[in-house]
């Protein structure tokens, strides 16, 4: 009995040793960690895949936990690159500098945020004032903007998301959305909610647009990649990646790759965003 026990113990020890060795050999190769906004995530994922093909000895690990988390990780020094769908806030800069880190921004892509409705809704254009009035709860029926006699269900992103920040700055001009607005946590949830509700209006990143939704033109400007890249479409934003101090070594290699018009930027379009060039 005792013999068998010690045999099992030896086996466990060996397994643990093998696992440990495997672990050290993997971490022996070089690593870049990226953390932050789920909006930027599809871009960095595609870029990282291509990057790892070109530089097989570098391992890029990406996690998405929101813009705030990405910048927090950079401030804590737990990530090489923080990705954010909004500009860094003054208090975050202060916290970073206090901790001895200096966030340096790089624009990686553009994103257009477009208003969407159910495909059965006849409305296809709204003025900026109408959009603002709808989100503030002043216009409550589609009839008032040339649609059917249906009440309007306002769907919005959570007030802490980067997408909401841009939306409230540009579409609401700093105004507050009606408390009746339903706040949903992701682009996917908004797509689901709007595509299943003929009364609803929501907004999503241009990359999430599909056949189950109808995009609305704003002040006569169609939400297209061209209009977003030229800056004509009113609700567009820059997506950022931040590094701690000016990037060096592998991080610099990755940033150069991501910003290269024929390399990284190619994947920006593939992930549904607007490339810089």
């Amino acid at each position: 009995m005792k013999k068998m026990k010690s045999a099992i113990f030896r086996m466990i020890c060996m397994a643990a040793a093998v696992w440990l060795l495997a672990g050290t050999s993997a971490s022996g190769s070089e690593r870049i960690t990226i953390n932050g906004s789920t909006t930027v995530l599809p871009i960095t994922q595609k870029v990282a895949e291509a990057f790892m093909k070109e530089y097989p000895h570098i391992n890029v690990s990406i996690s998405g936990g929101g813009s705030g988390n990405g910048i927090k990780a950079l401030v804590d020094g737990t990530t090489d690159i923080g990705q954010s769908s909004r500009w860094i806030k003054p208090e975050e800069v202060k916290l970073a500098v206090d901790n001895g880190h200096y966030p340096v921004p790089f624009a990686i892509a553009l994103d257009a945020i477009i208003p969407v409705v159910h495909p059965s809704n006849p409305v296809d254009n709204l003025s900026m004032d109408q959009l603002k009035a709808i989100y503030e709860g002043k216009i409550r029926n589609w009839q008032e903007v040339g649609g059917e006699d249906r009440s309007i269900v306002i769907i919005s992103r959570d007030s802490s998301s980067g997408t909401f920040g841009v939306w409230s700055d540009v579409a609401l001009q700093g105004g507050r959305p009606s408390p009746r607005a339903q706040l949903l946590p992701s682009n996917g949830a908004i797509t689901q909610a709007v595509s299943s509700n003929p009364n609803a209006i929501g907004y999503i990143g241009i990359g999430y647009l599909n056949d189950s939704l109808k995009a609305i033109s704003l002040a006569g400007i169609e939400p297209s990649y061209e209009n977003a890249a030229s800056g004509k479409f009113p609700v567009a934003r820059t997506l950022w990646i931040f590094t701690d101090n000016w990037p060096k070594g592998n991080t610099l290699l990755f940033i150069n790759f991501a910003l290269h018009p024929e390399k990284g930027q190619k994947y920006v379009k593939e992930s549904g965003y607007v490339p810089l060039y």
């Binding site: 975050e92 998301s161 980067g162 607005a181 946590p185």
Partner: protein
């Protein structure tokens, strides 16, 4: 020799003391952390404005940190889901313990307990893609993601807990009490209503409170189906934003150690107080109506 044995005894004693106390230690640490991260918000808003404010606009300038709509959201969801879950849960418990054939019971009880193990994200998804369009069409509503939908889904989660624990309580009522009642000429229904239910009241109340406590803290389901509007509901078809959903939705994007961040922890503290009160009530009821043999009736 005996000192060695005593030392060994002492070591084992300490080991089990640490294991036994670890729950309390961890709970205390969590509470401390909640308080430390939550209290700083009260430099910006007073406790009264925080609890009774009706506007939740944490990211605007100037921000509003009023969580009354969130408290109202949590409370309304819990009350409505209790109204659905308690009769259903106790009803199925009575059926299983008293009326069902033992063979039926052997099938249904494990099935009910199996529902308890369903991941809440699955229940939430079901509510979002099946129940929401159904409610919207059936009642002609603006939106199917609302208070009623969330309450039905939470009731669905609470019923197994209530049914299974109540059934245990009812089943353990001593047989001679039931037989005594029958021998005095009471019908089966009279026996259930006047003898068995009062005798198992402690177990049933504990079951109900544990079931509801699960509904208060539940996050995923309410995040997915409650609609998420930070308003005080005026009807059961209004969308609401319960506290756990609010914390889960906003925490990821909040700047670290900002007012908003501290406000979310303060909401966590309020939520902790709520569940703590519920558990105290459960403990109190269990203590007060403790059944000592058959003599307590």
């Amino acid at each position: 020799m005996s000192t060695r044995r005593q030392a060994k005894e002492l070591l084992i004693h300490i080991f089990f003391l640490v294991v036994g106390a670890s729950g309390i230690i961890i709970l205390t640490l969590i509470l401390l952390f909640l308080i430390m991260e939550g209290i700083p918000i009260f430099d910006t808003v007073s406790v009264k404005d925080f609890i009774t404010g009706t506007m939740w606009y944490p990211t605007f300038d100037p921000p509003d940190f009023g969580i009354l709509p969130l408290i109202a959201g949590s409370a309304s969801v819990v009350v409505l889901s209790s109204l659905i879950a308690i009769p259903l849960g106790i009803g199925s418990a009575i059926y299983l313990a008293e009326i069902a054939h033992p063979k039926v019971r052997a099938v249904i009880k494990p099935a009910i307990e199996l529902i308890e193990g369903l991941p809440t994200v699955v229940i939430g998804f079901f509510g979002m893609v099946v129940v929401a369009p159904f409610l919207q069409k059936w009642f002609g509503l603006d939106t199917g993601l609302n208070l009623l939908n969330a309450s039905i889904m939470l009731a669905f989660m609470a019923v197994p807990t209530i049914a299974s624990l109540s059934e245990d309580a009812i089943y353990s009522v001593p047989a001679h009490m039931k037989e005594g009642s029958m021998a005095l000429g009471a019908t089966h229904w009279e026996t259930i209503a006047r003898v068995i239910l009062p005798a198992s009241l402690t177990g049933i109340s504990t079951a109900v409170i544990l079931g509801i406590a699960r509904a208060i803290g539940e996050t995923m389901v309410v995040l997915m189906v409650a609609g998420g509007a930070a308003m005080i509901p005026e009807s059961i078809f209004d969308p609401v934003r319960p506290m756990p959903a609010n914390i889960a939705a906003e925490m990821g994007n909040t700047p670290f150690r900002s007012d908003h961040y501290h406000a979310l922890f303060a909401i966590g503290l309020v939520l902790f107080v709520f569940t703590f009160i519920f558990n105290m009530i459960a403990a109190y009821l269990a203590q007060k109506h403790k059944q000592v043999g058959a003599a307590s009736l």
